[in-house]
Symmetry: C2
Subunit: 131 residues, 2 copies
């Protein structure tokens, strides 16, 4: 199953997203919180993210959700530190961190197809909340 890593600048946000995803998608999926710095401050930490990616991977690869600014750069640095094999199946998704993670967690329980995951992430980015 594809694993999820949540990279908010706040570990409260990341931990809350993990709770919400498990509530919506069930507990069969690996969703790892990598929010905040490793000592709990606001920020992001490439090494902390790298370790989360390794934990989230069960062989099928990992998708990363990031919030603002440097969370993307820290995630890119984390991917550079991975073994080549895992590097090639790790993706940063261009989707809102909360809304995208919930949608993808549900999808990842149904299918290992990375293209379908990317489509669901993009759909979450484009869906309007208020019609």
């Amino acid at each position: 199953m594809i694993g999820l890593v949540i990279v908010s600048h706040s570990n409260k946000i990341s931990n809350g997203i993990v709770d919400l995803c498990y509530q919506m998608a069930g507990k069969n999926i690996k969703i790892i919180s990598a929010g905040g710095t490793s000592d709990g401050r606001i920020g992001t930490d490439p090494i902390f993210i790298k370790e989360a990616i390794e934990k989230a991977n069960d062989g099928d690869g990992v998708v990363i959700f990031a919030d603002i600014g440097s969370s993307i750069m820290s995630s890119e640095l984390a991917i550079e530190m991975l073994e080549k094999d895992l590097q090639e199946k790790t993706y940063i998704l261009d989707t809102p961190i909360v809304e995208g993670a919930v949608a993808v967690a549900v999808q990842a329980c149904m299918s290992n197809d990375i293209q379908e995951i990317l489509n669901v992430a993009e759909e979450a980015r484009q869906t309007r909340k208020i019609s």
Copy 2:
């Protein structure tokens, strides 16, 4: 100053968004967490949200950030319960809850113009994280 109310299904997410917004925008603005149910479970609660809107309002109105599904409906119910005067200056923003709240918190510190707030929220919705 326009106040912010954060309505995630998870109070960890809402509390984390408040922390992150204060970090980015400074402490001069009212940002109230109304995530989760009033007893801390995953969900949303119209009465809890109504009280948060009243706390966030200093006379200039309030904007609400919601995450998924019923958070919009609970926010709409909360607005219906408000006094008419506050009701008319409370808006639910169609923007990602984390990314939109941070962008709007920064903008709200600079201007009370609701149209500018709506524009910033829409920009946060449309901005791609990965170019």
